[in-house]
Symmetry: C2
DNA sequence: TTGTATGCGTTATCAC
DNA sequence: GTGATAACGCATACAA
């Protein structure tokens, strides 16, 4: 079968012209006689000709494929990001290879190497919790491969980025808790390393400070996996350690679900006794009981935006060998639901 | 930069040997002098040589990339499937391009063409709701491209498949409802076309029949989008149309969440007044209140299994030009939680 | 307007 | 054990 596939050469022979002319005719060059062009196009259509993309890649040194590395696929926010990226990429005639780092720097490193060896036209990464300005990321820059970081970024890497203002969003969340009367607010934060966990934590502190509530580090609990179970267990700990806590800001909705579940089990009234706010606005936030207040984080938009940035950079690198290193910050929004409506 | 990348030719020139020998040495052929091999390998490592995969693809006519088309990315079951596929693929040195059909046959068709024109080594599809034995799928078979269907299949296409026994699983779900005392069971089914919706519905009917409960088609409600909202609205309708319904079998957990939400709002006791069972065992099933009984559908395993099937078929097609058309059926499991514990 | 010639980097055949 | 040579299909600089 595959041997039967039509090539430029075959079309040329059939029509007794050169492959050059065939190639030009099919690519719409104007230095081709109208009649010739017509004949070529007709035969190409008849034969169902499509250029051999292996040959095209090889010749043009482009694959029209980009690589994406994210920490987790089965995850509301990240899968929304994926969705945004592949949707926008498809519009622009690009395909997307997806890899999952499992929050491991080593995996991420291998995957970066894999993508580079496959010669993708560009790479988008949402960093693993363990990653910073590591060698494998520097390599992407050195090799002059278009590169965009999304959501989980490192400030130390100088490349294009699509982010939200996590500090402001964290501030908004906690400020809201305070505005509904919370006086003693615990924070279940993300792991120590990732920038977004740091920034949300900074937002938490800033909101306390602005409202003259002293910061108490014993009220800060640090997730390792940012999981439902951690939310559940930390909620238990919070209630035991600090019976007078009246508000909890969780790093992400999944963790907040764990919190809600524990509090519900213990018949602790939400929000009357403890108000809870999450982060990201997962679909289930509106379904769970009580409905969870949270911060809207536009995953799909961040995805599509990051592809657009990458595409821009691909063009720019091709034309002027110049990296753009543009930073796009998307808006977040406070979403108030039952879990904080005192 | 890219011009500086080392090639076989460059290594050969540096060492004053032929590219042939360099190639053989690096690929571990044994008809190469040990010393020569060593020199080559050493220099290759020093130069950080990696074969130009565009050239390799072109020469070998293989990309080591497969394509995956699924209806939706932001979806617990499908994202688990994706996860299983990319994990297994990566182990075996394959990469995965992911496309989303949005349940549209037209999109799916375009995407199939796109993947074929990109010359992926194989294609895995979970069919859109609109797809059957359509032309674009037949084309894959005709073009002798390795092909596996997963979960959402068509019986009319003769290719490898990874599925569960939806009929049996549907039967188990409804039989369980009956075993806890339900006498009048409604079914919120999936759309008319997809095989899995049909089979689960058949299972529903079979369970009724086996237990001598007459089938009443007014108790069957048909989703178009298999959404939370449909679950919510159909629950309302069920309660209004048939106040004496005491059990509901929903095509998928998401729909069941809608049902639970409506029943909770109306203070209808679950499971005392109405027992509810879903399908797929989404993560949130255990988190929501009441915890949802459901059928475990092993998404990750189905994904990894489907890649293995595809790989087998890739090998088989290469060696003997023979399609395997093997069907793998994975086990489901009834999971009993609060929503059916009378 | 058309065609000739060349090269992209790798692999495979075959002669030495 | 080694190397010359061809071939994969396409795109382009240049000649005619």
């Amino acid at each position: 079968m595959k041997s039967k596939e039509p090539t430029l050469k075959y079309i040329a022979e059939e029509l007794n012209i050169s492959t050059t002319t065939v190639s030009k005719a099919l690519k719409g060059y104007k230095d081709v006689n109208a009649k010739t062009r017509e004949k070529v196009i007709e035969l190409a259509k008849l034969l169902n000709y499509t250029p051999n993309s292996f040959a095209v890649n090889f010749r043009t040194n482009e694959s029209k494929i980009i690589g994406l590395i994210i920490p987790e696929v089965v995850h509301y926010f990240f899968s929304s990001v994926i969705n945004g990226i592949i949707a926008e990429a498809e519009k622009q005639d690009y395909l997307v290879i997806i890899l999952q780092s499992n929050e491991s720097k080593d995996m991420e490193k291998k995957q970066v190497e894999l993508l580079m060896s496959k010669r993708v036209d560009g790479i988008i990464i949402s960093l693993s919790n363990e990653s910073n300005n590591d060698e494998h990321l520097e390599t992407i820059l050195q090799k002059e491969i278009p590169f965009v970081l999304i959501d989980k970024i490192s400030k130390l890497i100088n490349c294009s980025k699509v982010i939200i203002d996590d500090r402001k969003a964290g501030f908004d969340a906690v400020n809201h808790l305070i505005s509904v009367g919370c006086k003693k607010i615990a924070h279940i934060r993300g792991p120590v390393n990732p920038q977004n966990a740091i920034d949300r934590f900074m937002g938490y502190k800033a909101a306390l400070e602005k409202n003259n509530i002293p910061f108490d580090k014993s009220l800060v609990y640090t997730c390792e996996n940012v999981s439902f179970d951690e939310g559940y267990n930390f909620a238990k700990k919070i209630v035991e350690d600090h019976p007078d806590v009246d508000g909890i800001f969780a790093i992400t909705d999944l963790v907040a679900f764990g919190v809600l579940t524990y509090l519900n089990e213990k018949n602790i009234k939400i929000p009357e006794q403890i108000a809870v706010i999450g982060f990201s606005n997962w679909f289930m936030s509106e379904v769970i009981s009580p409905k969870l207040s949270t911060i809207e984080q536009p995953g799909f938009k961040m995805g599509s935006e990051s592809f657009l940035l990458l595409k821009e950079e691909i063009e720019s690198m091709k034309k002027e060998n110049k990296r753009l290193s543009k930073i796009v910050t998307l808006e977040t929004k406070l979403i108030i639901r039952e879990s904080t409506k005192k």
